[in-house]
Symmetry: C2
Subunit: 376 residues, 2 copies
Amino acid sequence: MNPLNPPKRLLMGPGPSMVAPRVYAAMAKPIVGYLDPYCLEIIGDIQQMLRVAFGTKNEFTIPISGTGSAGMEAAIANFTEPGAKFAVFANGFFSDRITEMARRQGGNVVRFEKPWGEVYGDAEAADFIRREKPQVVAYVQAETSTGAFQTGKAICQAAHDAGALVIADCVTSLGGIPVEVDATGIDIAYSCSQKGLSCPPGLSPFTVSPRAWAWLEKRAAPVQSWYLDLRLLDTYFRGRKYHHTISISLLYALREGLALAVEEGMEARWERHRRNHLAFVAAIEKMGLRMHVAEPKNRLWTLQSPRVPAGVDDAKVRKRMLDVDGIEILGGFGQLAGQVFRIGLMGSSSTEENIALVLDSLQKAMQAETVTAGKG
Amino acid sequence: MNPLNPPKRLLMGPGPSMVAPRVYAAMAKPIVGYLDPYCLEIIGDIQQMLRVAFGTKNEFTIPISGTGSAGMEAAIANFTEPGAKFAVFANGFFSDRITEMARRQGGNVVRFEKPWGEVYGDAEAADFIRREKPQVVAYVQAETSTGAFQTGKAICQAAHDAGALVIADCVTSLGGIPVEVDATGIDIAYSCSQKGLSCPPGLSPFTVSPRAWAWLEKRAAPVQSWYLDLRLLDTYFRGRKYHHTISISLLYALREGLALAVEEGMEARWERHRRNHLAFVAAIEKMGLRMHVAEPKNRLWTLQSPRVPAGVDDAKVRKRMLDVDGIEILGGFGQLAGQVFRIGLMGSSSTEENIALVLDSLQKAMQAETVTAGKG
């Protein structure tokens, strides 16, 4: 087997983002067992810092042993009993994934559809919930497929008035945008390690409100997933008994990634993401590209989705950026396939220098592709 | 946040085992995206080496993004339709876990019970399957809770004669004992990264026979788990389309851990495990302890389960070994709580020096505890 020698990429896609040297160093530290007092101490550190990042006092705040999609499945599998009415705000790829998972759990899914990239106003969101009277409501706070940010207060208020629990997908917000679980009223939030927190992928930060936990304790139907059963996970995280063998190396990484965020200060970190987002938008508009999300206030600071100019093949542009400059960005999919570039400014990747590098590479690649296309 | 400074443990429990420096170094390498050509190349390397370790030609041989228990759930969720008769050889903690998962998937579980530590003879195993006519059969090749090894040829033959698929739990065998998926006739096997392969936890090596894959392609009922749906995972591993964001750092680690195994040579590696197991048994019997698994041929080479001598509190002994010598071993649970020590000789942990260290520490801790108990 030849030596492991990965290329050095500038990761400017929708995740993973760049990993800080301190996080890499953490993964090279000696591992310990999953019941070792040191492992439990590290978990305690992570829980404390995750509460800060999520903006919550929720006791049940843990890293789930899987990616963001495992977190999504944990949220849906634990809080959807067969036959339960499950309302989805459906405006992107990840709300479609939520829909699919909820159906697999036996949920009776109702959807409020909007074109990808649009968001929901307070009144229409509340009307939908009042009309449907669901048991569970799900929305995507930060839609990675479109670059749109969805506010949640009106959704949560209407859901609580209807006696429903609210699941929010915070995969692309945590660590880069205020998630504000408690202030918003979110009951169940999940995220990932490899975007705003700039760790390697593999863990899903997860939090459950006392209200949702009380519901779960009374749930009669068994949760189909044993691996993601939150009450069983609680026997490990609180009860300190074996459930599964948590990945200590990923815990080390997450602990250090969170420490970097908390040491920077969440407010300062959010402000850095906001400032760099605005600088990116100004620069890309100067290049003549248009942001897919029309309203500035609805744009994510973490994930930018400029539209691909007419006549440009986004796959060729992206391939050239990777091959020539070692820069990764991704394209659109689903409704937005071929229509947007998806450029991340997340965690360690969100710097002025990286904006200059990615835009310079993008411009050169588009020019080269246009010339090639003209010749071909 | 204080600096991350884990204690240096000698990991001699049922996993994780000691991680080689080359594997630690791999995790400090720069990450790339999940669709980066380099990531796909690393996955290809892993698949090729996993086939060698599993003893299979199965095309569908992948690392699942979760721990060994996620692999177990993937096996059961994909191959158990609601109402399907599911036969379990129930002789330990992990066959109880299989039972619980199969019931959650709607399986009609029938169990052939034996005391923990015993195994099944060919004739009685085949009789059970012939009598029950199940659609799925599950057994634990290497039972981590008891230290027992279960041969599989008779089980697989009888299952195939009955038209059933066979799931084998290989969590504690892969990399330390011949698994021999193809020669045994196993249809679905899963394992983990942190035992015989001596990588950090977080990935579950998984393989599916063409026969089982053909069944899966015809399965009508949707798999409840989206995250662990093998047909969806295939769209990533073969189709190279986004499903979830695989943990590239854990892939680097697994690639290097597998390379160490393949470079050592699987046969030489198994022989090292066998030799060290026999040396351990000879030494522990000389200390006056008795192996829980009575028949030498039924003992795992990877996980030793000597019985706790009368009057010894295993929890106190283990705590002292960890506190004084930094050595982790674990105790029994379930039927064997307080009755056995569980001592791993797996992957990098399986050395003559480690046997000497763990037995010296065990002996001193037992003496200290006996003296303390006598005084108290």
